[in-house]
Amino acid sequence: MKNRRHCITRRDFTRGTIGAALGFSLLGTKSISARVDVKRSSQVFILRDEKVMDSARNIETTILQKMINETLIKVTGEKSIKEAWQQIVNPEDTVGLVPTPHLNPTHSELTDLVKKALIEMVGVPEENIIIAQGRKGPELVKPCTALISMPGLKAHWLTGIGTVIKNYIMYSGRPRDYHHEDSARLGEIWLLPDVKNKTRLVLVDALYPLCDKGPQPDPRYKWDYKGLIAGYDPVAVDTICLKIITAKREAIKGEPWPLTPPPICLEAADKVYGLGTSDMAEIDIHALGWQKDLLLG
């Protein structure tokens, strides 16, 4: 009885002992000694432009292009957009773009513009750029030497937040396992041999996010944020995404409206799998462009 596996409960979350509980619960994982080589800058960049979508939510691609360029230059610290992209990938890379396919899909305009930049700025052959998402995820990710994670900003009914860390769920080849008891373990997917250390950039589509968990889209909970959120640290970027979603939910209800289930996978990604930081005190937020309703207060 005493050696029975401790399962994570609401009480662990309330007590703030998720980290300890996770360490106990996930004993046996090899992850702690298999941390990803993340560039732990823990800088997260948010760039917004009020005019990136018109009143019918059609994307103004010229403005979106400018947003991407400015974001990349800020994230990389390079002087030109060409140098910025060249810091991210090499011409020899096989690049997997990883958009969100369901619930709040990544805008195809964003994916197209990134693909175009990789071809024109870096010289990656078009055939070496693939959409590495979906049921064939494990096959698609295998030949990739670089991944650019491009999820849509959204909450999720099984994991609380469903943006960055959850974006690679299909690479597991057994996504349903992570709907149940293993949902806290989503971070381990980032450590799979075909995935580990391949992520060069996290670029979140926060143009029209979804702040309720679904499980299917409900337009009442979508809003015009008109932003991109980017960084190297997937956990830090997801943490900022969570902050924005949480603030929006409170704004809608006029009182605290916490996500349920709580986003335990995020803390686990930090404390168990070492993918980055979920500690707001360790994250430098750079909010550029349109500042109204930034939701980071």
Binding site: R4, F13, H179, D218
Partner: protein, 309 residues
Amino acid sequence: MRRSGIKLPEHIGVWTRDDSVRRIDAGSIFDYMNGAGELYLGYRFEHLEVVEYRAENEYDILVEIYHLNSPDDAFGLLSLDWSGESIFWGDIHENREEAAARAYPIALYGAGLLRLRAGSVYARIMAYRETPAAKQVIFALGEIISAGHPLAPAPEIIHLISIPDASSWQGWWQAHHFLRSHLVLNSLYYLSHVNILSLDHDVEAVLTRFSRTGEGEHKEEVTAFIIAYPSAEKAGEGLLGFYRHYLLDHESETLPPSEVDTFYQLEEGWAGGGRRGRFLLLILNANSRLGAKEVLDLIDGNITQGGMQ
């Protein structure tokens, strides 16, 4: 491609539907909606029909008709989120006020999405962009889907949370959630990623909150979760799971669980409960032991009065 079991018009307003109906079953639901499929599988899902309406110069309208095992399952899906504009139509259309007073909504609308229950059918009708014309068509389609289905009462277990007139406790129907799955429970009230209460398709459960205003306008709240298992033995297993996993630090003093109601002060308030035959009554987040006991007694009284034990 099969045709829909519910006959939808080919043309409605300026919209025309696809000739074919996409049929999704339990084996293909994850291909259609990824993890969202767990929600419907948790409600005894049989199959789904998907129809799209298209029109020039208008956004598409998506119609999803979920066929479930019982009206209770359809009620449960609607009960996940009672917010939105409440809709009453069909056979109670002429006495809307009375219907609103005595029944739960048949449908809910907001921002271009109509959700409805009709017999054992749950449907979502969504315009990709809300316009007056689209809203009109959405409502018309909703009435068509609902037609022929008698108004289904709320699941029987919901009666266990009714509050006697003389009680100081209050409840509100927007806080009533019917479910059978621990994943659904977690999406409403996170308990544990592990199915510690052994919920499955054979159980019926209702989650709700009670409140009352006490001295000095102090508001007291209690969360109650009542589960009807198929047998007393199964209810006992559920109670054991709750004690073993949720009351881990009280394990030595509580195992085996007593038939006497026991409450413990935890991080968010008093919690505990007990078993009544095949029913498991759990009280969570109560401000006081007394409040926890009162609400449990209230539910207990409903079980006894209803002869449900």
